[in-house]
């Protein structure tokens, strides 16, 4: 199929990735057996374990693509993909290092200074250091270019960071935060210019944080306030004013990955387990089959995109948006479908793992189609890619 804006060329993961997959599976099996982790729905957004992160780090599984001199393994995007999908499907507690590994590390490598990379990347790769990303603000959600957090010289010429970030995932667990900010005043004709990213330690004077609790009472997000925070120019990442490009490049990776359809996978596994245990009705089997058919397809679409990205031939923005929209809607619908075919009382305290997974999934479902760009915005991207806008 070759439609403009909708191109998923055939692609299979090469056999070389199988060895890594086998290693990861063996590691995870051992960890499960030792009680090293429990699978959870949406674990990548909600469950962390410093121990688990360090173990991954010790195996070289954080920053796996990074240069060896920074603690990486210099492995390919395809290897990283296989690693990611194994960790996601198993519902592992990767929340604390997720953003650092997926997004901030690549940003530093692409745009950061030697000093920044040498300082941060090796410790991130070991699973000892966590960075958060400060993007959204109370008045800037979907319209990120409208941010107001500013990094400007004070009367003494010292750079000061002022503003407020919201929905900052894991900031309370992080030692550093990368803050998207304006280094030049907003110009309505050039809204994407004058934006930069700056690296600050979370314990810097002038930074305060308050937790934002989600509707299940849990704390993943934060509001982070910056009041006259002193910043050195060498804390800016790359060229001042290049921030917009830095973050948009990342979006393709962020949008098309396995976390965009595997958040409820542990629930689906429990459906299969329940049918296996109890015999299962026709409707339950059909529901399981329908869910797996959709997942199988989504994964194939995702693999095709990673092929495109790995080859460096194109940045498949539209295709990534398609996967994100389709995948996250699937995640939400999977919950309703499971609910409709099983007798279950969703509860985090239940002894029945299906009921626990169902409760997790239900509580997290609102976020699935909001995070990483709301689906409505992404559909606008898709429409533009099709030439409609």
């Amino acid at each position: 199929m070759a439609m403009e804006g909708l191109n998923f060329p055939p692609m299979d993961l090469p056999p070389e990735t199988e060895a890594l997959r086998a290693e990861v599976r063996q590691f995870l099996a051992e960890e499960r057996a030792n009680g090293g982790y429990e699978p959870h729905c949406d674990a990548w957004m909600s469950h962390w374990s410093p121990d688990f992160s360090r173990k991954l780090g010790a195996r070289g599984w954080i920053g796996i693509m990074w240069p060896k001199k920074y603690g990486g393994q210099e492995r390919s995007a395809l290897d990283r993909y296989v690693l990611t999908e194994e960790l996601m499907s198993a519902g592992t507690p990767v929340f604390s290092h997720w953003v650092s590994d997926r997004q901030i590390g690549p940003t530093l490598l692409a745009y950061g200074s030697e000093a920044q990379c040498a300082l941060l990347l090796p410790e991130i790769a070991k699973g000892n250091l966590f960075l958060a990303a400060g993007l959204s603000e109370p008045d800037s959600g979907s319209d990120l270019a409208s941010i107001r957090t500013s990094l400007l010289p004070d009367e003494n010429g010292k750079l000061r960071l002022n503003g407020r970030k919201i929905w900052t995932s894991a900031a309370h667990l992080s030692q550093y935060i990368i803050v998207l900010c304006r280094t030049s005043p907003f110009n309505i004709e050039k809204r994407h210019e004058g934006i930069s990213q700056v690296l600050v330690r979370t314990d810097t004077p002038g930074i305060s944080m308050r937790p934002i609790h989600l509707l299940d009472g849990r704390h993943h997000f934060n509001e982070v306030v910056f009041e006259d925070v002193e910043v050195d120019p060498d804390q800016i990442i790359g060229e001042p004013g290049n921030g917009w490009k830095q973050i948009t490049d990342e979006l393709v990776y962020e949008r098309s990955g396995p976390e965009r359809y595997l958040s409820t996978f542990p629930l689906i596994v429990e459906l299969a387990n329940r049918i296996n245990r109890d015999g299962g009705t026709s409707a339950q089997k059909a529901a399981l089959g329908k869910l797996v058919a959709q997942l199988w397809t989504l994964r194939r679409m995702s693999v095709r995109i990673v092929g495109l990205m790995a080859s460096g031939k194109a940045l498949p923005n539209n295709e990534a948006a398609v996967i994100k929209d389709l995948g996250t809607r699937f995640e939400q619908e999977s919950i309703a479908l499971v609910r409709s075919v099983v007798d279950a009382r969703p509860s985090k305290d239940s002894l029945d793992p299906l009921e626990v997974r169902l409760a997790e999934a239900i509580f997290h479902s609102p976020g699935m189609t909001l995070r990483g760009g709301t689906n409505e915005i992404l559909r606008g991207v898709i429409a533009r890619g099709l030439g409609l806008r």
Partner: protein
């Protein structure tokens, strides 16, 4: 895609665009056999692409054959392209020469079974097959029984004409102990049987649908860009853009699913990949049919406008060789019997690191 495949697709596109026009499709609905289209397909070697040369075909792969089927689906071609591929698969897989001319395949209705029995040097075929697509226009009706396959000349069968919702021939075929010569029948080859026919038939429908729904989507993008109401093109309205974006996801998903299932068929027993594809593509077909009609407004509901050539076929193909529910249940039952830990290996297509 290979160069040969690219060429096949390009040739097919041109041919179907020229000869599978709205007029030809409408005439077919009135009973006129699209002879020119079929002849052109045969002459271009597009009908038996996957049959080995020594058995009458072009010597290509299953993937090549299904690539043509997909284009046939795009153009709602009123000729048995997919059925001939299935017939070729059954006969060539049983070491039998595949005759030229349009071929029908049977049985296609759940519960039907045809008996093919050895009778001395030749074979006899007995039984009834319902809703056989294109039987009345086929030169041979290829039958897959339990343990044998046969190519029965149409003239030797009793045919009662019928139609499906897309206005295509779906005939009742009765085989009254028809004698078939040794060269035209034989023991079924490895992996050829009524069950595997059901799987390959479903694969063919998934591929047809992936082409058809892509075309319905193209119609929709074009129509909404041209139709002006309230001073602007429909495609400028956000509600329309949102729905088209959702449709784009379904089109892409269907294409990838069907393609992946074809690849699985080339690699071995594709039963569960076909199950996933038929379920997923059927789901996409339903969504695309509904949305494309909604965005076309009343115009799309007419007989005259070509959208219905695609959507009526989507409604039919999603039901044939098992609908979504049936295949989803089959896939779910198999996975659940193996247990929750087997779900990811299926999805990832890999057993690396696991006990065999």
């Amino acid at each position: 895609m290979s160069d040969i495949r690219d060429m096949l697709v390009e040739t097919s596109e041109k041919l179907f665009a020229d000869l599978s026009t709205a007029e030809v499709i409408n005439a077919s609905e009135q009973g006129v056999w699209a002879a020119q289209l079929w002849t052109a397909l045969e002459e271009a070697g597009l009908t038996l692409a996957a049959v080995p040369e020594d058995l009458g075909g072009a010597g290509g792969t299953l993937g090549d054959a299904f690539a043509v089927v997909r284009v046939a689906g795009r153009y709602a071609a009123p000729v048995p392209v997919a059925e001939t591929v299935l017939a070729g698969w059954a006969l060539a897989g049983s070491g039998l020469k595949v005759p030229s001319g349009p071929l029908a395949i049977a049985p296609v209705a759940a519960g039907d079974a045809i008996e093919i029995a050895k009778a001395g040097e030749s074979w006899t075929v007995s039984g009834t097959a319902r809703h056989v697509p294109w039987a009345r226009h086929a030169d041979h009706i290829v039958v897959v029984g339990d343990g044998a396959a046969a190519a029965v000349p149409r003239g030797d069968c009793r045919i009662e004409e019928g139609a499906n919702m897309a206005g295509e021939p779906n005939d009742l075929v009765t085989f009254d102990k028809v004698r078939v010569d040794a060269g035209a029948a034989g023991p079924a080859g490895e992996g050829i049987g009524p069950d595997s026919l059901w799987v390959m038939g479903a694969l063919g429908r998934a591929v047809l649908m992936s082409g058809g729904l892509e075309r319905a989507f193209e119609h929709t993008v074009r129509y909404t860009s041209e139709r002006v109401q309230f001073g602007r093109a429909l495609s400028k309205f956000q509600a329309v853009q949102q729905e088209i974006a959702i449709m784009a996801g379904e089109v892409a998903a269907a294409d990838v699913a069907a393609d992946a299932a074809v690849a699985a068929a080339e690699a071995g027993d594709p039963t569960y990949q076909v199950a996933a594809a038929k379920a997923r593509v059927g789901q996409a077909a339903s969504r695309i049919a509904g949305s494309s009609h909604q965005l076309h407004g009343a115009m799309g509901f007419t007989h005259e406008y070509p959208l219905q050539h695609n959507t009526r076929r989507l409604w039919v193909w999603r039901d044939e060789f098992g609908g979504e529910e049936e295949w989803a249940e089959k896939l779910g039952a198999w996975l659940a019997a193996a247990g929750g830990d087997e779900v990811w290996p299926f999805i990832s297509g890999s057993r690396a690191g696991l006990a065999a």
